[in-house]
Symmetry: C2
Subunit: 306 residues, 2 copies
């Protein structure tokens, strides 16, 4: 089993009602990899600039993440994002985005990355996603994330990419926007007609819904008393979800496995938001993951009768 993720490796500067941080290690591929590492061997594909310290690469490597395809672009600047959140942490604002080395990124995957069993195309330009997808023809499960920007500006390319993956992992608002259908259940069905046989609609603190040929499954978010920074929660969710599915070692995960994958996604996302950036998940232990997984079941379980 092995899993390749392509996406951003970034410096994030974030302000929330609970503090602020400058140029933290972040990016979709980083958040994803640090969550998925609990389940499988993860290969990270993405570019960084001359300003990217070895200590960041070392952090990933020391957590068991394969960093061979992190490409250092001479003279370039690492992708950076600056944003802040309102008192209601569901409301995020982007203050600045510097593409840096991502502007001219042309992914060249090593053989090991190309041969991964599971592929996650994090939120990058859909044509780039398609070129990576073509290099990983053997992946038995391919998933993608996207965002409103690509729905608005490169809709056709995104629909093309969706036709080439097994699973779409989007925010619920993006599922509605892409399909122009205000009802989520209908929107997810319309999205499945574009290609993916699995749709995961992420709902922020309210949890996530899974749609598949077996019907649907919904989980609330894990209830937390301390939420400091939601950045990367969706990627940590995807890391838990796809990491667990890769560990199952089948290209047709059963409904029960998909449900447990949703639960692991929820658990990893919940750790992500407890501290700024990758602070919490980089320090996380397997025991903590197992414990919260059981707490999540206890928090959502009811018996039909006495």
């Amino acid at each position: 089993m092995s899993l390749t993720v392509v996406g951003s490796i970034a410096f994030d500067s974030v302000r929330t009602p609970f503090g602020a941080r400058e140029r933290m290690l972040g990016g979709s591929a980083v958040h994803f990899a640090l969550a998925a590492r609990f389940f499988t061997h993860v290969h990270v594909v993405g570019p960084v600039g001359k300003d990217f310290d070895d200590e960041h690469v070392e952090l990933l490597r020391s957590r068991g993440v394969n960093v061979d395809d992190i490409e250092r672009v001479p003279g370039g600047e690492t992708f950076s994002w600056r944003g802040h959140y309102e008192a209601d942490l569901n409301v995020a604002h982007t203050d600045d985005t510097q593409l840096g080395v991502f502007a001219d990124f042309e992914p060249k995957l090593s053989e090991a990355s190309q041969n991964a069993d599971v592929l996650f195309l994090a939120n990058i330009q859909p044509d780039l996603q398609r070129r990576v997808r073509a290099q990983c023809a053997a992946a038995r499960l391919a998933a993608l994330d996207s965002m409103n920007l690509w729905i608005e500006t490169t809709r056709d390319a995104l629909i093309g990419a969706l036709g080439e993956v097994d699973c779409a992992m989007l925010n619920d608002a993006e599922v509605r926007m892409l399909t122009e259908e205000p009802n989520l259940a209908r929107a997810a069905r319309a999205l499945m007609e574009m290609g993916p046989r699995i749709v995961v609609a992420k709902r922020g603190e309210y949890g996530a819904v899974l749609f598949s040929e077996d019907g649907f499954f919904a989980l609330p978010g894990f209830l937390l008393e301390d939420v400091r920074d939601p950045t990367g929660a969706g990627d940590s969710f995807a890391g838990g979800f796809l990491g667990y599915l890769d560990m199952q070692g089948t290209d047709q995960p059963a409904d029960a496995a998909l449900r447990r994958a949703m639960a692991y996604g929820t658990v990893l996302a919940s750790f992500n938001v407890e501290e700024f950036g990758t602070e919490r998940i980089a320090a996380l232990t397997e025991d903590e993951v197992s414990e919260r997984y059981e707490q999540l079941r206890s928090m959502t379980h009811f018996e039909l009768s006495d």
Copy 2:
């Protein structure tokens, strides 16, 4: 077992993207009673005007609801509400409210209503809630709903009312607003320090969270392909929740019973929104309730391992 609800009996005029209706039977006490009737004997307390047709009273009576304390005020006008919803049905707008006979309502409960085992104080002025609470001293479980208007204008009275009930059932935004605490888990704990040992935070289509001395329990909303009118969903939830608890016949419902009550609340709310006003719930059968209750468990259940 028996349950008394005091609240509005109303004419609702509603417009949603799926249609419009004029002067439908509505109001919090009506929506609540039509949901709770599946579990227990419900007494409705509230005033109506000269414009309230016998057919509406007959509809409630024919569904097993006790209407002896529906007070017809000679010459008065029934409470009426006019509102509309955006394409995103989570966004509601009130266009007009006519208090009518509710402006001078002074509840006088019959002995049967006073002797109820469970009491629900639907969303009315908190001083009114307290006067009803005082008349139902024997109730072993008393719950209340409220709204942003009372939090803003009669906060002290509302806090007084909260000190006299066992259970608060509010929207999550109201729990946060009342306690001035943006985190829901902390806000619910602060609310419990005001009196209630049970807090239910309703989250619209995203479901609801239960807080009690046993911890917390969360359910997503039941996923529907057809949602036509959300009006009254919160009251239908409360009706399912408290109706089921009354049926248990204990003043200290166990955690497992509270969880099932949450599930029945979710089920009744889901039927409420499928058609305008009371159309769906007035025509609902016990079999449909049982079937969806099982579907809800199936939709939210996962096993820890193979």
